[in-house]
């Protein structure tokens, strides 16, 4: 019988093709509407194979200055003078062009970042387009969004985005900034620059005036140069809490506006009166979506003690059916870990979990030999004092704790410096209200998890960040 026989075998490979478009061998910096040579270049690799895909420019002080100058010029001479309706037209055009090239963006995102094509195709790219559409609609209605005020743009915005949702984060940042009349200098993450650079191609195709969006690639130093530049009026950052704190310190007293969207350690709380099979599915999606590289991932599971055994058994069974492997395969559920560095961070925390006495469980089956991989992992017998419960792992690792009463669940869930997201699973409506009101988190989902929509504000409490992105609150962050 064949290895891919339906009954006993695995599904035959179904890779998404990458031959209908090209990725250039080298990308320059996108400044003032043109591709500008950098003084040096660095490589970007495919984390599923560790093969080099392309090389991109490393923006130094000179290039960052040049980009900010171009953004200022575009702001003063063009973009701040355009009517909202005209700005909206560009954004609609960008959204439509993105939809037209959706497959190319999805494949590029998956190759550069390691996430499964199912996610980049069904979530990242459509949601990125939705952000452009949504904000295009607001561009000429800002006065209605904030009645009684005359909303004004801030000027030049410096934006630094992470590697977990490269295109989506770019859309999330650029769309509201432009809709509100600001111009942008964006720095994508160093491991995942390609979709942002392809987005620059799309801006050219859309005829977006030169300098309205500038894209400078590089690592932390490039970001630092951008954030600390005196001619930047606002900083928008998504990334780790450590870097977020450093940015906040450096911005103190500068008068710059800022929004920070940082780490998280979300509690997913499941009660004995929950729809158990759907809750298990939600827990799976909550932690294994995008290999757990999600700031709002449901990485702590609180399960009511009375149902802990069946929930854990069902979780294990379900994890056994998750397919880990080639991110370009349409049947892959869990792709590659984004970088070697991130993989070693995950491994270190998992080792700490074992050492501290939590019990580890991983499914049978091997992993591909080339590339960066980590098996979906459960820890049972966890306590609040364990590092795997306290620290953000940013990988496919779930720490499971039990609780007895709603109050105990709330106390433990809130007992963390983070406060980005949370989840509550119960069929009882009154319990949903009690729990969601008590959870100190910016986003709380009830009987679902990891749902995103451009109309809904997103952001954190405590060390998970300041400010909101998306919805009316997100618009307000780009207006004076």
């Amino acid at each position: 019988m064949s290895a891919h026989d339906f009954i006993t075998g695995s599904y035959a490979p179904a890779p998404e093709g990458a031959d209908h478009f090209s990725i250039k061998d080298r990308y320059d910096l996108f400044i003032g509407g043109k591709w500008v040579k950098a003084s040096s270049y660095f490589q970007t690799t495919n984390p599923a194979t560790n093969e080099v895909i392309s090389e991109v420019g490393l923006a130094g002080k000179k290039e960052v200055n040049q980009a900010i100058k171009a953004a200022r010029k575009a702001y003063d001479e063009v973009w701040s003078k355009l009517s909202g309706a005209e700005r909206g037209k560009y954004l609609f055009r960008i959204a439509r062009l993105l939809q037209e090239r959706a497959r190319e963006f999805a494949v590029t995102e998956t190759m550069d970042g390691g996430k499964p094509i199912r996610e980049s195709r069904d979530i990242d790219v459509p949601l990125a387009a939705a952000h452009f559409f949504y904000h295009a609609g607001w561009a000429d209605k800002l006065e209605y969004a904030f009645p009684g005020k005359t909303p004004q743009p801030l000027g030049v915005v410096g934006q630094v985005i992470p590697w977990n949702f490269p295109l989506l984060m770019a859309a999330w940042k650029i769309a509201p900034a432009l809709a509100c009349g600001n111009t942008v200098v964006l720095k994508p993450a160093e491991t995942t620059p390609l979709t942002a650079l392809k987005l620059a191609e799309l801006f050219q195709d859309a005829g977006l005036p030169a300098g309205v969006v500038n894209i400078v690639t590089g690592a932390g130093e490039t970001g630092e140069l951008l954030v600390n530049h005196p001619d930047v009026d606002k900083v928008a950052f998504t990334g780790s809490t450590g870097v977020g704190k450093a940015i906040q310190r450096s911005l103190a007293g500068s008068g710059k506006r800022f929004t920070l969207e940082l780490g998280g350690k979300a509690a997913n709380i499941i009660f004995e009166d929950a729809a158990i099979n759907e809750a298990v599915e939600g827990i799976i999606n909550g932690i294994f979506f995008n290999q757990g590289h999600v700031c709002c991932a449901g990485s702590r599971l609180f399960v009511q003690e009375s149902i802990a055994t069946p929930v854990i058994r069902k979780l294990q069974k379900r994890i056994g059916t998750l397919k880990v492997g080639d991110p370009l395969d349409k049947n892959t559920d869990i792709g590659a870990i984004n970088s070697r560095e991130q993989l070693s961070r995950i491994k270190a925390l998992v080792a700490a979990g074992k050492e501290e006495g939590a019990e580890i469980w991983q499914p049978d089956g091997g992993l591909p030999r080339k590339g960066n991989w980590f098996k979906p992992t459960l820890f049972t017998g966890c306590a609040q004092s364990h590092r795997i419960v306290q620290e953000e792992i940013f990988g496919p690792v779930l720490a499971i704790q039990t609780f007895r009463t709603p109050q105990e669940a709330l106390d433990k869930a809130n007992n963390t410096p983070y406060g980005l997201s949370g989840g509550v699973w119960t069929d009882k409506g009154s319990k949903i209200f009690k729990m969601t009101t008590g959870l100190k988190a910016g986003v709380v989902w009830a009987n679902t998890f990891n749902k995103f929509d451009p109309t809904s504000p997103f952001g954190g409490y405590k060390e998970s960040g300041i400010g909101r992105e998306g919805g009316l609150h997100g618009l307000a962050a780009y207006l004076a």
Binding site: A12, A14, A275, T321
Partner: protein, 310 residues
């Protein structure tokens, strides 16, 4: 209370609503949709298509059914793709009780089973006594399997015990014949009801649970099947007894059939991937499966004229 020799003593009681897990509609529908994104290609697709053919309950349930119609349909079930013995035969033919004798004669000596709908199919609105008599009649005529309907009216009136009893009585009346219990999920309406009715049916001795009669507007759907499959899984874990699943009605093309099979594979596992434990109740599905098999073999779609219409 009939003698229930087929059920273990600890299963004799009728489940209550509290025994059945709650179902979240949004979650079930989302999960069902995700199965549809599985990409089944090449040899996996070919083997799944052939498997689907072997799981068909080739069905005719019309007032106009005649000896001629039924015996011709049986030929199709025996030999779906003439000239290619690797395809088929179907699992069973499914007919009204009056047609059982004809069907049994037509498929005699083959592996194809004869299933009869009974118990005042499709409404079930008759006294239990007559409904049981119908079951005995169909079995006496040669039916290997009985597809009964539950009394949805009584279920919706809250008379759950009556549902349990009627299923147990039918099982008794079946003798050696297998019992498939049609829940008519389109009339039970909520997923919570479907799950509870599944649990009652299995506890009362059902060999199969089946979604629909095909006679009401809403028949089998992927989400409703995804409510019933975990019920089967939970029952198996609790009792060690396997129960089969039969979605019926509205499964008219191969793509959808494969989505059902993917769901069975990933929820219940390969043990359920035989026609002993999974069936499709369908009439027009057969030829689309055959057309897709030919397409896989030749790379081209062939005219409908090349597929027999019995």
């Amino acid at each position: 209370m009939p003698q229930l020799s087929h059920v273990k003593v600890d299963l004799l009681s009728c489940p209550t609503r509290r025994d059945s897990p709650l179902i979240d509609q949004v979650g079930v529908e989302e999960r069902a949709a995700r199965f549809c994104t599985r990409s089944i290609k090449k040899e996996t697709k070919m083997s799944a298509l052939k498997l689907a053919v072997s799981m068909l309950d080739v069905t005719t349930l019309e007032g106009a059914d005649t000896v001629g119609k039924v015996s011709q349909m049986c030929q199709k079930a025996l030999n779906p793709l003439p000239g290619d013995p690797s395809v088929g035969p179907a699992a069973a033919v499914c007919v009204y009780p009056r047609m059982v004798k004809t069907a049994a004669r037509s498929v005699a000596g083959s592996v194809v089973k004869v299933a009869a709908v009974a118990t005042q199919f499709p409404s079930g609105q008759m006294r239990l006594k007559e409904r049981l008599a119908e079951v005995r009649y169909a079995v006496g005529e040669g039916a290997d399997e009985i597809d009964m309907v539950i009394s949805r009216g009584q279920f919706l009136q809250g008379e759950y015990r009556a549902i349990y009893d009627e299923i147990a009585s039918c099982k008794e009346a079946c003798g050696k014949a297998h019992l498939k219990v049609i829940l008519e999920t389109g009339e039970l309406t909520t997923y919570d009801n479907v799950r509870f009715a599944s649990d009652i049916a299995m506890a009362a001795g059902a060999d199969f649970i089946k979604t629909s009669t095909g006679k009401v507007p809403i028949a089998a759907t992927l989400p409703v099947t995804l409510v019933m499959l975990p019920a089967i899984e939970d029952f198996y874990e609790a009792t060690g007894r396997m129960v089969g699943m039969k979605p019926a009605g509205g499964i008219s093309n191969a793509k959808l059939a494969l989505q059902y099979l993917v769901m069975v594979k990933e929820v219940l596992g390969p043990k359920w991937l035989t026609n002993e434990w999974f069936r499709f109740g369908a009439s027009s599905l057969t030829n689309d499966l055959l057309m897709q098999i030919r397409k896989q073999e030749t790379g081209r779609y062939q005219s409908g004229d090349y597929f027999t219409k019995d």
